[in-house]
């Protein structure tokens, strides 16, 4: 179905996104409602205007933005999930003239659910992480700070969500980039949100500078693509790709850099650990999950939708070796760096780098397929992409969950030393267990979601390398495509990674809590709820991820690869 922008069908199809925007507007408006009156110019008539002036007590409560944002996100997410679980998603394309701007299909809906889920969990956690206090009584400076910036924070959160959704929906590379920038700019601020702390400000600066450079490079790549193909429409570039000149390649490389930063692939990941360490934990969690997924969308669009050779051609994708190299470097770098890291947030950041490497490896496998030799190459590609999507989705469950646990710790002080976690399992066995489960999931221990996702990714890679060799009856090991070694690299890396994940468990279960952390953990109903959701999702998606796998598969299918 094709719809024109802002037509009736458009609003029907994009109801959740509309709700998001409305929610955003409401957060702008509601806290500012007051008793002010507007004088009609040149007259003395004062019309009640309600914006500004003395704020109403109810609407002016600092708790309002948080609740609004969470509610909005929840509603939007609920609508999407209901839609997605029905599974009868039509493809809705937004056109303007002959330009396709947005497209609502299984793929984009899947990512929207992912983004909204991540942001929702993060904002739920933020309700406690950056608590709103009543205006009564005397406040400490910190509490006043927190009250003042409630609206700012959730506006930025929702903006991030909207930007990400745009990325998911975009069918034009430039639109995609605009969405990306929207989300990025919001996250730059979110990272540096705690400007009263040195590390907050510093991390904001670093993330901003490096991110801007990367997106500048990416944008330049886009402009070159435009120069090469005369359009940034995905389908048009994809159709013309096989005839591209070297300029196309250069452009591809530059665009890769832009997205590489977002997924924090080495060597573009440097700012990520600093950013995660300086940002508050829920935000870092969003960066590690949703933001990364956003980057992956870009990569999928550019590498798989555009730069994949046509079926029947006896060649692999041009970027095959590039991506393979990047993926191995990335996963190894991430894991090795995380190995000795004593700051849990940095450790998680490095582990997130490693996870990026895993996903890049999976993408490589799609490109590695010897397209000419099989009946249904798209099936293989779909399987792998589905695996990547699954991985991205379950990351929200356990990586974000881990960050949320750190967020809980941040509520009573920092969480930037390993010792902050000491004795967590004794202080609060359930939170400790949850954290341990998240760590095991990150390490890929069955039957948790992390295992399932890693398993699927590797299965995808192996399936490509094996292909349809089974038909021959006898197989020589040398017949396997070399991407099989990527699977091995992944496994070796996840074996290394166990070391540092396990260390967290050891610290939590064995060590004595450090000075000043002997009391029970702060309560925080909402953040705990978010952690439980993550925990249950981690276990449940590991035990029976069938529904999600199907969803991922449908999403991958709707890309119409090859």
């Amino acid at each position: 179905m094709e719809v024109e922008v802002f037509s009736n069908d458009f609003w029907k199809a994009f109801a959740p996104e509309t709700i998001l925007i409305c929610g955003l507007l409401l957060i702008f408006i509601i806290p500012n409602l007051g008793n002010s009156k507007f004088r009609i110019p040149l007259t003395k008539v004062r019309v009640p205007w309600f914006l500004g002036g003395r704020r109403f007590k109810l609407t002016g409560s600092p708790a309002i933005p948080g609740i609004l944002a969470t509610g909005t996100l929840f509603t939007a997410l609920g609508m999407m999930v209901i839609e997605a679980i029905d599974g009868k998603m039509d493809t809705t394309t937004v056109v303007s003239g002959d330009i396709i701007i947005l497209q609502l299909d299984n793929f984009s809906r899947f990512f929207e659910i992912l983004f909204l889920a991540a942001v929702l969990l993060a904002s739920m956690a933020s309700l406690d992480r950056i608590p709103a206090h009543t205006f009564e009584g005397k406040k400490s400076l910190e509490e006043l700070y927190d009250n003042r910036r409630q609206a700012d924070f959730y506006i930025l959160m929702l903006t991030t969500a909207i930007g990400m959704c745009t990325v998911a929906l975009a069918q034009d590379l430039f639109v995609l980039f605009v969405g990306l920038e929207l989300a990025s700019l919001a996250t730059y601020v979110l990272v540096g949100f705690h400007k009263e702390s040195k590390s907050g400000a510093e991390s904001g600066v670093k993330y901003f500078i490096t991110g801007s450079v990367a997106s500048g490079v990416g944008l330049y790549g886009l402009s070159l693509l435009y120069l090469e193909f005369g359009s940034l429409q995905l389908h048009e570039i994809a159709a013309l790709w096989s005839e591209s000149s070297v300029l196309g390649l250069i452009a591809l490389g530059l665009v890769l850099v832009g997205f590489g930063f977002k997924v924090s692939a080495a060597p573009f990941h440097f700012a990520a650990p600093d950013a995660y360490a300086g940002a508050n934990s829920p935000v870092a969690g969003v960066l590690a999950t949703a933001s990364k997924a956003m980057g992956m969308i870009g990569l999928i669009r550019v590498l798989l939708v555009i730069a994949l050779p046509e079926t029947g051609e006896e060649e692999s994708a041009v970027w095959l070796y590039t991506l393979a190299t990047l993926s191995v470097i990335t996963m190894t770098w991430g894991n090795i760096a995380a190995l000795g890291s004593t700051n849990p947030k940095r450790m998680l950041a490095y582990s997130s780098v490693a996870h990026a490497g895993y996903m890049l490896a999976a993408m490589t496998a799609v490109g590695a397929w010897k397209w000419g030799e099989v009946d249904a190459p798209a099936d293989y590609a779909d399987t792998i992409v589905a695996a990547v999507l699954f991985h991205l989705f379950v990351l929200v469950a356990f990586k974000l969950g881990a960050f949320l646990v750190l967020g809980l710790l941040e509520m009573e002080g920092g969480a930037s030393r390993l010792s902050a976690l000491s004795g967590l399992a004794r202080r609060d066995p359930l939170i400790g267990t949850a954290m341990f489960v998240f760590m095991l999931a990150l390490a890929g221990v069955p039957p948790l979601a992390g295992f399932m996702s890693k398993f699927l990714v590797i299965a995808g890679i192996v399936s490509t390398s094996v292909g349809e060799l089974w038909m021959n009856g006898t197989v020589s090991f040398s017949d396997l495509h070399w991407v099989w070694w990527l699977a091995l690299a992944m496994f070796v890396n996840s074996a290394i990674s166990v070391f540092y994940y396990l260390r967290i468990g050891v610290v939590m279960f064995l060590d004595v809590p450090e000075e000043g952390r002997r009391k029970p953990l702060p309560y925080g109903a909402s953040i705990r709820m978010a952690i439980w959701i993550c925990l249950v999702a981690t276990i449940l998606l590991g035990l029976s991820g069938d529904t999600l796998i199907d969803m991922c598969y449908r999403a991958a299918d709707s890309l119409n690869l090859a």
Binding site: T433, V445, W470, G473, V492, V498, F499, L510, Y553
Partner: protein, 557 residues
């Protein structure tokens, strides 16, 4: 809250597990009673116990201990009843790739994973052994500190181990394979000795690394199988993780002149799978996690670790790589033999050089596991049956060894050989059990360990001839280190005895009643299976014959 979460998970599982065939209405004796029940019960108990305060935990430890004991006796009752046909008539005389009490439910439809369980002559003895050892371990370590969480962990361990043995789906197998690490990790971490932090991590990481390589092999194997359609096959991938399908595929190929997947691929996949199993076994040179884990682990952990967990390696070997890659077995036959011999000899020699009692026993496990490899390399049904019986017998003897070590540590606060002399005077019971266990382990006839050693030797000769001198030498070395250690613990000490300094002059006590009960049960079963090995061997023999016919295409029907 966690209980609520668990209930959600259980409910979710229920919803996602439709049975594969509606017509099959027979009772599922495996899934819930043997596997699900212990795991779920222990999860609930852990969730319950973790919510309590420290003081309350000590109070509730007593009922929890009793409850876990009862809960662990239920699987034991079921498995025993299954063996003796008390519940239903089970025919253990199965063809290759036939399983008793087989049950299959869809689990993850998209990639062809099913909850497929069943037992045969290979797995049932191990299942029984596990169900048997868990209550024994609970009884033997009746007074462990922090009981509220300790006993449920043992129970969970048992459930996970049984899961490994009954799984007939590669994915399910791997899930349980890794699941066993977690309770053991905690057992070592929380109840372990001084270096428990290092030992627990080493244990976990070492075995995890190996199994990860195994998993890659399994996945490659998965995709090398032909696509098919049917409820076992994945809707997305078109392949299946069902072992029975895999076995019949492999058999169908191997029966003819052709080789399943081709020789080259067989060899590589075989090696990949074997690495995982060899580390678990453990075979030299992948064994160094074991002494650390054992020395640091609490008694109960060591008992289960040595009793069942090591056997997972041998079980896995026989279940998967050997069953599907018979040509690779032949190709690697000498390598397997060499690894087995090296483990055997090296393990025993290092034992002789140990000063730590538990370390010595740990290395003796390495040595004994080498016997299993020799049995496999012999390519004789009797060798395979010997491997199976070794798994079983060592599963009864080694817990006793570790129970003795644990009691020694518990009562004399030292693990050094020679720290305590004249134990026969101070702790006559412990001395008797020690001597019994040591003797059983060194392969004294009429005790369970001897049968397997004899069978292995018999099977070893026609294939490798004079190399038999090495296992022979090991018999002597084994006797040497055991006797030497007994000389310096049970014996000597003069009339006054010589209690170790670590006791600070207190009178050394004899073992407690619970330890006594646990050890005597183990001792009785060691004797029973030594004098009447046919109880277990009958089933194993039938399995080996079927295996040789089905896998190696030998013998003929």
């Amino acid at each position: 809250m966690l209980i609520g979460g668990l209930l959600i998970i259980v409910a979710g599982l229920m919803a996602f597990f439709p049975s594969m065939s509606d017509s099959d209405t027979s009772v599922d004796w495996i899934s819930l009673p043997l596997v699900g029940f212990p795991i779920i019960v222990s999860c609930i108990l852990l969730a319950f116990a973790s919510q309590e305060t420290r003081a309350r935990k000590e109070v509730i430890a007593v009922p929890i201990r009793l409850f876990t004991l009862v809960a662990s006796l239920i699987p034991l009752a079921i498995s025993t009843a299954l063996f003796f046909d008390w519940l239903i008539l089970v025919d253990w005389d199965l063809m290759y790739n036939e399983y008793a009490l087989e049950k299959e439910y869809v689990w993850i439809e998209s990639i062809g994973v099913s909850w497929h369980v069943g037992m045969d002559g290979l797995s049932f003895p191990m299942v029984w052994l596990t169900t048997f050892l868990v209550p024994i371990t609970i009884i033997t370590t009746w007074n462990e500190k922090d009981g509220a969480t300790y006993y449920p962990l043992l129970l969970m361990m048992g459930g996970a181990l049984i899961g490994v043995f009954v799984a007939l789906d590669l994915f399910l197998f791997y899930v349980f394979w890794e699941l066993t690490l977690i309770p053991m990790f905690f057992l070592i971490l929380k109840w372990g000795g001084k270096d428990r932090r290092y030992a627990a991590q080493k244990f976990f990481i070492y075995t995890f690394c190996a199994s990860v390589i195994m998993l890659l092999g399994l996945i490659t194997l998965y995709f090398l199988q032909p696509e098919g359609s049917g409820s076992q096959y994945g809707t997305v991938t078109g392949r299946t993780f069902d072992m029975t399908v895999l076995f019949s595929n492999a058999t169908a190929y191997n029966m003819g002149d052709s080789v399943f997947l081709g020789k080259d691929m067989q060899n590589i996949l075989f090696a990949m799978l074997m690495i995982g199993f060899l580390v678990k076994l453990p075979a030299v040179p992948f064994h160094t996690w074991l002494p650390d884990a054992h020395v640091q682990a609490p008694t109960g952990g060591s008992m289960l670790l040595a009793g069942v967990m090591l056997k997972m390696g041998a079980y896995g070997m026989l279940r998967i790589p050997i069953a599907i890659f018979p040509d690779a077995v032949v190709y690697y036959q000498d390598v397997i033999m060499a690894i087995g011999l090296i483990s055997l000899v090296w393990g025993s020699i290092v034992c002789l050089g140990q000063t730590n009692l538990k370390k010595m026993v740990a290395y003796s496990s390495v040595s004994h596991m080498g016997v299993i490899l020799l049995g496999i390399a012999s390519m004789q049904p009797i060798g395979y049956a010997a491997a199976l019986f070794m798994m079983f017998a060592h599963g009864i003897i080694s817990p006793m060894l570790f129970a003795v070590c644990g009691a020694f540590k518990h009562h004399y606060h030292s693990m050094e050989i020679g720290a305590m002399r004249g134990m026969a005077k101070w702790s006559p019971f412990l001395a008797v059990y020690m001597m019994f266990a040591w003797m059983a382990s060194l392969g004294l006839p009429l005790l369970a360990g001897f049968v397997a050693e004899l069978m292995v030797m018999i099977a070893f000769w026609p294939e490798y001839g004079w190399w038999i001198l090495l296992p022979g030498a090991v018999l002597a070395i084994t006797a040497a280190y055991y006797l030497w250690s007994m000389q310096r613990t049970i014996f000597e000490g003069g009339d006054e005895g010589q209690p170790p300094e670590s006791l600070n002059g207190e009178t050394p006590p004899d073992i407690t009643l619970s330890e006594n009960i646990g050890m005597i049960i183990l001792a009785i079963f060691t004797v029973i299976f030594g004098i009447f090995p046919f109880i277990a061997l009958g089933m194993m023999d039938q399995w080996t014959v079927a295996f040789f016919e089905g896998v190696f295409n030998l013998g003929g029907i």
